[in-house]
Symmetry: C2
Subunit: 331 residues, 2 copies
Amino acid sequence: MTTHREFQFAKVPSGMPTEDCFKLVEAAIPQAGEGEVLVKTHFLSIDPYMRRAMSGSKAYGQMRPGSVMIGRGTGIVIESRHANFKEGDAVQSEFGWREHVVLKGDGLRKLVSDLQPLSLSVGVLGQSAATAWVGLHDVGDIQEGLTVVVSAAAGAVGSAVGQIARIKGCRVVGIAGGPAKCRHVIDDLGFDDCIDYKVGNLSQALGEAVPEGIDIYYDNVGGETLEVALDHVNDEARVPICGQISRYNATEPAVLRNVEVLLDKGVRLQGFRIGSRLARRDEALEQLLDWWRADKLKYRETVSVGFETAPAALINMLTGGNYGKQVVQVV
Amino acid sequence: MTTHREFQFAKVPSGMPTEDCFKLVEAAIPQAGEGEVLVKTHFLSIDPYMRRAMSGSKAYGQMRPGSVMIGRGTGIVIESRHANFKEGDAVQSEFGWREHVVLKGDGLRKLVSDLQPLSLSVGVLGQSAATAWVGLHDVGDIQEGLTVVVSAAAGAVGSAVGQIARIKGCRVVGIAGGPAKCRHVIDDLGFDDCIDYKVGNLSQALGEAVPEGIDIYYDNVGGETLEVALDHVNDEARVPICGQISRYNATEPAVLRNVEVLLDKGVRLQGFRIGSRLARRDEALEQLLDWWRADKLKYRETVSVGFETAPAALINMLTGGNYGKQVVQVV
């Protein structure tokens, strides 16, 4: 076998991506040069930022039509030309949507041997949960006894936000879409409460769920949910902006209607990207692994089987079809 | 003499305040009790937040019609019943708009004897400049070599922001209204550049003035100027929101149209109030006094003479009629 499959980014979507935004191509399997390893992809990580990149956002890995789709992956070394790696080692890095990838050995992250399934390395023990940890600590200034609210609470980042905040001794209220997700968030993940934003008046529900006010609102969705949350924050509240998934398929720019609350309450509203905080990410990953080994972290994954299902998996995640981390199982 | 004059807050303005929003009344001069001092008001501090308080903002000293107008002042002790104060001492505190005030001696700030004129204690050596210092340090994380942009650059806070940033080794560009204010900001205060927002296209002018991008945008005005500044920030930029003077007389809520930049560039947008950071304010005041004694701080004041001119002075300041600190000289 000398060829494999890759997905190219075919065209910029208008609104929600469609399958014709991606093109499945046959390509030669790349060769590992000196100091490199050849890796067989086992899982692809499917994440909201990909939609931003498809719109040309430089910050999120700008692509041109014809580029291979960006994305993190995890897999097994099948040929090594680097002293630190041998066949059979599990690694995690930026792969792109391809069945095999050649990576430089220097700086490549080797996974611990007890990490199973490998997909955890892009979810609850990977970038998603590290993003939760860094946002809560470096922007949220998380402390015991605070009230934390998180949107997209059943998603890969949101589910980690809530669990980390519970471990840190906070009261945690999620916002999620639909009764099944809300039950999952409370019963499986241990949140104190969860609001179904699809039912009734969100502001009223939030007011009832957090009569003490919000100290940290961890924002994964932007838009109206952000505005409503800002109406319920306490003085000196922190709002880490991790994502704006409600906005990614919008055709008009985001608008924030209650900016005055920032001044009236001394609120800190801050976007951040894990990609510019790599030292902190590594610190987070160590902490998460410790918690996982101590059985303190639950997770759920939405696994789409087959390399060719990657576009459908991304669309599923963008429409809220996932519980926890959305991944594609390639082998 | 047993009576003096006070200004009551008479009615909530719709848009820009008018003189009938204030009521001048004759009242008994208050008596100092045990542990208190009676102070004769020399200067009243006129500040943008007063407009917020007149709209009922709790954060800024909510008033009801019939209350004495809030406001800081500076004056001389004329009767002391507290061991730490004697007749002739200069003090600065929350006075309200009144010609005499009784204050508790405990915790009252006594001014250093070389501080002349007394009005400096509410401006370049008082709350205004301390607000500049705290915003630049605690939200802006100011460092040598950064590019700082400040709006309302010729105002009491803005003129201090620029001078402090210059002292800290930053490049400083102001935004002000009209050529005379811009000249003042550059020639008298030592800013590197100043943009007249009343002429031409602000975004284009800002792009030309800061080709290297903005690291700290110190926001005193909100509204469109904030949106334009956000279009020119660098990654990880900080935006201390100190005031929103362009918004205070608005009858519709503020809207921010480019919130996505917070995520794309990891920007920190944070409101803050000096009133909730008193320890840092005191640190700032010491530093400012040192700089002033070393002749590193310039200032200009707009002095309105006569207690009865306080409403006109406030309206003047809200319409941008002031250079530097707006005060009312009472005696």
